[in-house]
Symmetry: C2
């Protein structure tokens, strides 16, 4: 009966990064692995070099031998189906060649995998990281394998000058031309990152006027033509934009402008962006969409960055991620919500299901008037309980839930007529049953169900109905198990309340309990609660367990 | 007005792993970084060695020089406040010594940081990974710094025999003794992992009978004394348990039994567990709770592991993580939910807010009978709209929302009397207004609000109320902006419908729009929706936008 659609062992997309290590965790394979995780991809990694670095700078570098770079790539790709690859810092000529040759050999035998090349060759301070030979190898050997390369402006300058193009990329127009020229270097597409060029709205308009085929994709609030969402204080003409330029062999030029963020949390931005593009490609997105989502992800990562380190801190890679407040459902723990609810009210729950009323009932020594008071009040309560299931049906918008609620409703009506026949056995007339005055404990519990039904959605109402359904099931099973022990305190066979114990421990009622638990758990798994919502469910549950205990207090005190 | 409590730039706990690299991503610093991410910690890492490996085995190892290990540790810890550290594979004597000495020096000058030492020295195949010297260094130099060490059974055997203790740990009783003996090696606590010892329920009972001070903490369903949650098919006496044994200097012995999982996805289990303990310690948990949560996390990671690789695959590190279906709220994108709703109904939204009715109204050429038909129906609609806000108040359980709903309700009643005075101006009597027959478009929209209110929670109802509030705000601002353009098609000054345009573009109404948007966004940020819930909100919004368009269709066709 237990389904695990939303739980476990589902297939996972695998992404591979080939890059350096950043001990501080903000760039390199560390940034890539965090980005992969934030996109739901399984991360693998090949190290080309290690750095000892932090947000203040690089304190040391340790290269990895090229044959070991090749071995790492083969270890990963021989064993695992990789859906996308990104490369970052490749350190030197030999390692660049090792990466290019190994990938080429694997692609030719096992088929091509989308490859994002971040041509890391100039540090943010402008220092050339790769020697000339390595840059030639990058262009000649690796670019032809890449579906996209993602240079920043300095790298674009170095790459363009190597091939005799103008390396001046200081304005938007020059960036567009630069991206087109970079496409000549062999990749399928170029994303030229405009981090250090300041663009105004008028520059964007000029660029489009000069070449109407240029597309502009903007996710920011300045581009909305929705008046009510405008951030009215800012004049868009006075805003500095950062524009990334995408140029595709078959897709023309697309600009991605975003308002410049005033932030020092930009360490590892390039690593993060190229890793995010790889994830989107692994998911099967078209390149344009991949770039769109990846640039948005990276922008938000800068905007929401936590304060870490004394210098240029890392991005917040985890912004698309929420931590589950409710544990995932598995075969070993198929009832995480029900267990959490019972555990979080452990004392109250025991006071309810092992109430003196229950113990005396099990012994057969429960005073007759307490039982009759209980049965009469329970009869009145069942009216609320049935109405609450009717509300549940009325609130549902699929036939399955409408039907299951109605089935329970009908079984409650049957249960109520059982109460009536019980009462008759014990000498209580229909008339007496129907006219019994309602106890405050009954009103409190019954009205509270209707209140929860009015206030919330079907899940909150279901949680409020569960304390009764599950608790009576627990009472029935507990008494039955206790009765089965040698020399038990429970008097089963000759108990005046035998039928009551049989009803709640019997198959029919226990089936209803199982269906109820399954409904709660499968809905919580399909629609995982936020912390706020889980607290609401727990508080609804807690209120009802308390009211259940109060109900048996009422029976004992005849109040 | 915009609050960002739940958005960005919040402080982040930093964890550090000092270990080897596993190219396949299932063990080593990769497993650690994934575990850190799944606990909401920011991961930093120091590499002691690289491996080329996959789920089938290790294909190559490349050591990192000890001085570079030290440099990496210093780069991280000089710059960042680290809340917990774990060590894994330290490769050789020199690196083990470098790690111990560097940490000792930093701890003595900057204060102690909780340190979890996973004493990796034996491979899963039983091969000794660390030479004797390195093991001595581990014991003598690193254990004294550790708040806990986490050996598996093979490692425990090696460590115990180095100090002359019995290395036989093949039964639960021997494990308990072994853990006590290991505590003599200098750490504050020992977690002896029982992966390869099969324990039965009777063994647990025997252990407790022999030493009643031993505590047993079990999160699994066998230990629940809740009858209704029992997995009834299995006899707990026939179940194989894996038991981890925690022994603390001041805390005695605690056993953590869990049913053995039949899984080959166990690559990196030890790395993952020790990393998870570090995260829990970083959060400030007591060691016992840290071990409890970390063992539960690891167990679920094995149980929910995805199929990756051909051999012993990795755990699912990401099981506590959900991906947000709705983007995080930031200063740059303060309205992610409203924007998503409008963007997801872009065509319909334009048909609504730039309807022919609106265009003709703006020109001043809207037929009088269309406007009057609209006003009369809008008068009838406002009754539903006011009732829906009354429902919202009735469904709310904090005074702020009860008050804000009631404020809107009262302003709707004011708006309806404005409609009446409008009508009087245009020669429509109160009597005619009150007795106007309700159009099907009005009934559809009005009843749909009540239906949504009945079915769902306050948020669903709020979303259904938003299309009207926001759309009329948009119409007002759009007409006003269009009117401000030179040679505009909008006739503002001498428009017979001027007052209508002024009302909806005016400050009072626009303030209400802003408050409405803020309410939606702040509640979605505080209670992030699941995919299912977000789809519900979008579908409620889409229905209302469609009904709004239908409302103006009705006015134009006088239907």
């Amino acid at each position: 009966m237990v389904h695990h659609e939303h739980t476990s062992n589902s297939k996972c997309l695998v992404a591979l990064t080939i890059a350096g290590s950043d001990s501080s965790g903000g760039a390199g394979i560390q940034a890539d692995l965090k980005t992969f995780a934030a996109h739901g991809c399984y991360g693998t990694s090949v190290l080309t070099a290690l750095t000892a670095q932090n947000t203040m700078g690089v304190q040391g570098v340790h290269g990895v031998p090229p044959e070991f770079v090749e071995q790492q790539i083969r270890s990963v790709m021989d064993d695992t189906e990789v859906s996308a690859i990104k490369t970052g810092m490749l350190f030197d000529t030999k390692n660049t060649l090792a990466v290019a040759k190994t990938l080429e050999s694997i692609f030719s035998s096992h088929g091509h995998v989308p490859l994002v090349v971040d041509p890391v060759c100039v540090s943010t301070s402008g220092h050339i990281l790769l020697e000339t030979d390595a840059i030639e190898t990058l262009i000649n050997e690796l670019f032809p394998l890449a579906c996209i390369i993602t240079p920043n402006l300095s790298e674009a300058g170095v790459l363009l000058s190597r091939r005799g193009f103008s390396s001046k990329v200081e304005k938007l127009g020059e960036m567009v031309q630069g991206a087109k020229d970079l496409l000549e270097l062999g990749s399928q597409a170029v994303l030229l990152k405009g981090g250090h060029v300041t663009v105004r709205l008028s520059d964007l308009e000029t660029a489009r006027a000069e070449d109407p085929s240029i597309a502009v994709i903007s996710d920011d609030s300045f581009s909305d033509d929705v008046e009510i969402l405008r951030v009215s204080e800012r004049d868009p003409n006075g805003v500095d934009f950062v524009v990334d330029v995408l140029c595709q062999i078959d897709g023309g030029v697309t600009l991605f402008p975003r308002p410049r963020l005033d932030s020092t949390s930009t360490h590892g931005t390039g690593c993060t962006l190229s890793a995010a593009i790889a994830c989107e490609l692994a998911r099967g997105r078209q390149l344009l969409d991949a770039v769109r989502y990846a640039t948005a992800y990276t922008h938000l990562g800068i905007e929401t960055a936590p304060p870490i380190g004394k210098g240029h801190g890392p991005l917040n890679h985890a912004h698309p991620v929420l931590l589950r407040p409710l544990s995932i459902r598995t075969a070993g723990n198929p009832h995480p919500l029900t267990r959490l609810c019972i555990q979080s009210t452990a004392v109250l729950w025991k006071q309810y299901v092992q109430h003196d009323f229950v113990r005396l009932l099990g012994k057969g020594t429960l005073p007759r008037e307490s039982f009759l008071h209980f049965i009469k009040q329970d009869y009145l309560y069942l009216k609320y309980y049935a109405r609450a299931y009717a509300m549940l049906a009325a609130k549902s918008h699929d036939f399955a839930l409408i039907k299951s609620s109605s089935d329970v409703l009908l079984s409650i009506i049957t249960e109520s007529s059982m109460h009536a026949s019980f009462c008759k056995q014990w000498g209580v007339s229909d008339e007496e049953l129907r006219t019994a005055p309602e106890s405050p404990a009954t009103t409190a519990y019954g009205a509270s169900l209707i209140d929860t039904g009015l206030r919330g959605d079907t899940m909150a109402l279901t949680m409020s109905l569960a304390a009764c359904l599950l608790g009576y099931g627990e009472v029935g099973l507990w008494l039955k198990r206790e009765a089965s022990k040698p020399g038990s305190w429970v008097n089963w066979e000759s108990n005046p309340y035998l039928r009551w114990m049989e009803d709640y421990s019997g198959k029919e009622y226990q089936d209803a309990v199982r269906i109820g638990i399954e409904s709660i758990e499968s809905r919580a798994a399909a629609d995982p609660p936020s912390e706020v919502r889980l607290e609401e469910w727990k508080s609804v549950w807690e209120r009802c367990v308390r009211l259940e205990k109060g109900f048996w207090d009422m029976a004992m005190t005849l109040s």
